[in-house]
């Protein structure tokens, strides 16, 4: 399971301190999420596109993700122009689209794409473990950070376990259909996955106890905040502040 396809890059954005990127991404997302005005949304989108270009993300997975997000947005376009009251602009059959509705849907589309692009450029360029590490430094409750750490650590292990079980089913000529047999088989697959990961978690905890676990992880590696991180963070936060005032 390739968790973070965008994180292996060499752009300047990849090298920024994860703590700075996390703070900037959160501020960006929050400000854009409550933006109502197209005059502010268009520059916000441009800034996000700029960041994406700067991060030099591989365009194929990038487009695929944008497509998924906009699939949902497309469903909203089928409804919102018609259900929002206002001055009519165009008709589809018996339905009338309102100007306000179209603007509302357009703003929503801009907001969604801006946040998605900014998140990919800022957080996608950080390995997930570094993000958890950054959360730890940003004073997120320790237990929550630990759960996040273990979840990521074992995601791939359990995914492989799942593939192994599924292959075992295939070898025995299992073909998914709309049938009770299929559903029972899948239920047992899920059940077996749960049993195996539960048992694995017991072993993991015992191994931790053997190594003297006392409720917290010592952190050896630390991020170093260099001047370019501070410059980047300040410029970004100023830009986000200006977008908010627009």
């Amino acid at each position: 399971m390739n968790l973070d396809p965008f994180s292996r890059g060499t752009s300047a954005l990849h090298r920024r301190d994860p703590r700075v990127k996390l703070v900037v991404a959160t501020a960006y997302a929050v400000v854009v999420a409550v933006m109502q005005d197209m005059a502010a949304l268009v520059p916000a989108l441009m800034l996000a596109v700029l960041l994406t270009g700067w991060a030099r993300l591989p365009w194929r997975p990038l487009l695929r993700r944008l497509l998924v997000v906009n699939g949902f947005v497309a469903v909203l376009w089928m409804f919102l122009p018609f259900t929002h009251p206002g001055t009519p602009v165009y008709h589809v059959g018996r339905l009338t689209a309102s100007r306000e509705g179209v603007i509302y849907a357009a703003n929503l589309t801009l907001r969604t794409n801006t946040i998605v692009l900014a998140t990919m450029a800022l957080l996608g360029t950080t390995p997930v473990f570094d993000l958890v590490h950054a959360l730890h430094h940003l004073r997120v409750p320790e237990k929550l950070a630990q759960v996040a750490f273990f979840t990521i650590r074992y995601l791939d292990v359990i995914y492989r376990e799942y593939l192994r079980l599924r292959n075992a089913m295939r070898v025995r000529c299992f073909k998914p259909r709309t049938s009770l047999h299929t559903y029972i088989s899948y239920a047992h697959l899920v059940g077996m996955l749960l049993v195996r990961s539960y048992e694995r978690s017991q072993r993991v905890y015992q191994a931790m106890l053997c190594r003297g676990f006392q409720g917290s992880f010592p952190v050896y590696r630390h991020f170093s905040l260099v001047r370019s991180d501070l410059v980047f963070g300040t410029i970004m936060l100023l830009a986000i502040g200006m977008l908010w005032l627009l």
């Binding site: 991404a25 929050v30 409804f79 259900t83 630990q146 559903y183 899948y186 239920a187 697959l189 059940g191």
Partner: protein, 207 residues
């Protein structure tokens, strides 16, 4: 199951964030250090399970399993699902940072509710009762989640009413599948590893 970024209004986002913080806090308080690996590994298991596509006629639906999560984890479903959703937001751009609170509530609140309702029956010796409680667990949690999504949309704006109705309607067939699968999974767990179902018992009534 999630709502994307940029759709909901600020009051809905803030309310979701506050409620989720409360739920996660309660979940973390019940999570003693020895439960951390179990919660985390079950969280990644539910993450993986949500990638499973189950055929339904010509189409296929993917599992949500938040009812089962609640049954196994109780209040700890809040931190577990928060982590899962945060990962989906950061890794796949499903959901998002600002909707994290809302989405956590949408998934975890029904999970906790069904765990209170059906936990006492999931460990029963009567196989039919076990299946029925597991099935209701899965189906009702999914139904409640889709109703919560609809409510979030309608609170954002009245013009979302039709989209909201469509959301709930679209979830009805998935609800049937989830119910059946959860029922059979609970039956399986009852037979193979009843501790997993019992794990939440001391979670709901903290010792």
């Amino acid at each position: 199951m999630h709502i994307s970024e940029g759709v909901l209004s600020a009051p809905v986002l803030v309310a979701g964030g506050v409620l989720a913080a409360g739920g996660v806090g309660l979940g973390l308080r019940r999570m003693t250090p020895d439960k951390i690996p179990a919660v985390a590994l079950l969280s990644s298991t539910f993450f993986v399970a949500s990638l499973i596509h189950v055929p339904l006629g010509p189409a296929s639906v993917h599992l949500v399993l938040n009812g089962l999560t609640g049954l196994v984890l109780g209040w700890m479903a809040f931190p577990a699902l928060l982590v899962g959703l945060a990962l989906q937001a950061v890794l796949f751009q499903f959901g998002g940072l600002t909707t994290l609170g809302v989405n956590t509530c949408i998934m975890a609140a029904p999970a906790v509710a069904v765990s209170y309702l059906f936990q006492p029956f999931a460990g029963s010796l009567n196989r039919i009762l076990v299946f029925v409680s597991g099935a209701l667990c899965g189906a009702l949690a999914l139904l409640t989640s889709s109703v919560l999504i609809a409510l979030c949309l309608v609170f954002t704006g009245r013009h979302f009413l039709e989209v909201a109705q469509l959301t709930v309607a679209a979830h009805v067939p998935i609800m049937v599948i989830e119910g059946m699968l959860s029922g059979f999974t609970v039956l399986f767990l009852r037979k193979v590893k009843p501790e997993i179902l019992g794990a939440a018992a001391d979670v709901i009534s903290p010792a």
